[in-house]
Subunit: 357 residues, 2 copies
């Protein structure tokens, strides 16, 4: 049914050649502005361009890629796109890729290892030129690393630093962020401070706690172990808020006074806010609360949440820069060592914290 000439779907470079009166080679050279285009007189160029335009010529990417081995495509592997933390990072990635004329292929692992692997396979088959992994949630096993390295594709991991530093990474300075969060509370006069820490398995959780400890040591602030609770090591980010609410209630039951609460992240803070509201404790009147991340809902909340902002869009941009450099390096056959960027987090003061009267 679908013969060649009769209803030929798309116009090829040879059609342009025929129509303009030049050869396919010349057309290719002109249209790509290849080095040899230097020798081609403007008149010819113009004729070819015109022909291409009137025919509506659209080069076939597959044919192109088949020869050039390039396809201007980057894989973006997310662990859970539903996580509000993800979205601004994706925005940053998307925007930077757009500037560089790359297109992102999106893969969402749904926090499942098997899915991650299947997607990785699909992406490699597609011959993506680079890969950005957004490790926004737990358990990035060691051998996942092996999976990635097998691909020999320029890769950046956002939100996690791998043990072997062969793979580039972009992370935020959790420790310094937590340090400044606690410092903020301390500056407002708070001394009895409760902590809802993140799951122990998360490296970011450990780093943030280190920051808090460091601040405490630097200033002689005492961290009361009875005011510290931990979120369980579980994998479903959606119930994180419920967990946080529960842990905060647990904390309240201990019946130990505190005037401020530092949450592992904004989601945790939301849970804490709910628990406090239920207990009739006013925020920030009776208790200040500080979060971490500055995800989108935080500014909407009543009261708007004081938090440590991760520069998420910048993280996405940074990742693209790294991957882009790696791609061009590879194209020129130069080796390029892995890059590790650690971005600063920034305190954003809103309505959920207040000085002690």
């Amino acid at each position: 049914m679908r013969q060649r000439n009769p209803n030929k779907a798309s116009v090829t470079i040879r059609d342009v050649a025929k129509s303009s009166g030049f050869s396919a080679s010349t057309v290719s050279i002109v249209l790509n502005n290849a080095p040899l285009a230097r020798y081609i007189p403007p008149q010819t160029k113009a004729r070819i361009q015109r022909a291409a335009k009137t025919l509506g010529y659209r080069p076939n990417v597959f044919a192109k890629s088949l020869r050039s081995k390039r396809n201007h495509t980057v894989g973006v592997m997310v662990f859970d796109i539903t996580d509000p933390y993800c979205t601004p990072i994706i925005r940053g990635i998307e925007n930077a890729l757009y500037q560089a004329s790359y297109l992102p292929i999106l893969a969402d692992a749904h926090n499942e290892r098997g899915r991650f692997e299947r997607y990785l396979e699909m992406l490699l088959e597609r011959r993506i030129e680079g890969l950005i992994v957004l490790a926004n949630w737990l358990f990035l096993d060691i051998n996942l690393l092996a999976d990635i390295e097998r691909g020999k594709i320029p890769t950046v991991i956002i939100g996690r630093e791998l043990e072997s530093d062969a793979t580039s990474s972009v992370i935020v300075d959790d420790e310094a962020g937590a340090y400044s969060a606690l410092s903020h509370l301390y500056g407002l006069g708070h001394r009895k401070i409760a902590f809802v820490r993140g799951p122990k398995a998360l490296s970011s959780s450990r780093a943030r706690w280190r920051g808090a400890q460091r601040f405490a040591k630097d200033t002689g602030l005492e961290l009361d172990p009875r005011l510290i609770v931990d979120l369980p090591d579980q994998r479903n980010p959606n119930v994180g808020v419920d967990d946080a609410c529960r842990m905060t209630e647990e904390l309240l039951k201990r019946d130990r006074q505190f005037t401020a609460l530092m949450a592992y992240d904004d989601m945790t803070a939301f849970g804490a806010l709910r628990a406090l509201a239920r207990a009739g404790i006013k925020v920030p009147g009776n208790c200040s609360v500080v979060g971490f991340d500055d995800i989108n809902p935080s500014q909407l909340f009543v009261p708007a949440l004081t938090t440590i902002r991760q520069p998420m869009e910048a993280m996405g941009t940074a990742a693209v820069t790294i991957v882009n450099d790696a791609i061009t390096a590879a194209a020129e056959n130069r080796a390029l060592p892995a890059v590790h960027r650690r971005l600063a987090a920034e305190l954003v003061i809103r309505d959920s914290t207040r000085a002690i009267p």
Copy 2:
């Protein structure tokens, strides 16, 4: 530098052929389980499979697509990925595409027409097999439609129904949703109800208002024009909350009693909640609030927001189903008329509404 044989990058089908002792044709037939594979004895198949596996053969998608004109890729054009309304829909799309072994190419128009067009061009160049447009925010001009139809690619629009119904669509039943929202408030005994309506330019805003009017007519409820305000026709969804807050304050200044407020959407509701909190009005104690959409933050809010849930994930799935059907229809050269799906929205009762004492 990069000669052919020496450091040949990837293993081709001919390598498998050589290694297994059969021809490239046979290898292709076996590996794709083509019709002719019927004649190939299991032994041969096994040998070929084994060779392919040990060599780590990965078929080159470009070469494949070059012949078959198929690439198992679908464009997903979003108008603003930052909008929390988007994420669950994207999740639905991604998941459904994954089931069908398609990969999504993500494009975010940032609400800019120029960017939309550039992306559309890039996607068409990529020969995407289908296109899903997520029109989550304003101004989808008529001629955008022309742009899309020019591509002759199976397309679905989510969140908007185009005037010419040549393009398939998936929308939610805004009118019925608003009807049930108002019905809920009415059922709780509310009679003095304020409205913060959406921008007039948005068709969904008009539809929701129609739903409210219909309910009012059906029950004889009186809609006081002095309790109705409109969000301005503007294009930045991020300041939507501020606008809503301002409009609600405007409403409060009018000094007319109301016991409930129906917001255009959840974002608007957040703004209203803020204004009410500032005015010292307790929700739901002194005033009930109902939103629309059920975006992620709504359940986190204190008080958790009563709202009309859009089945966003299902909308994404539905879009993929439509596009998938269209693609297979096109592959078989059958014409398929545009499909229009209207999904039901569902009332979710949480803590921001309460019966009148």
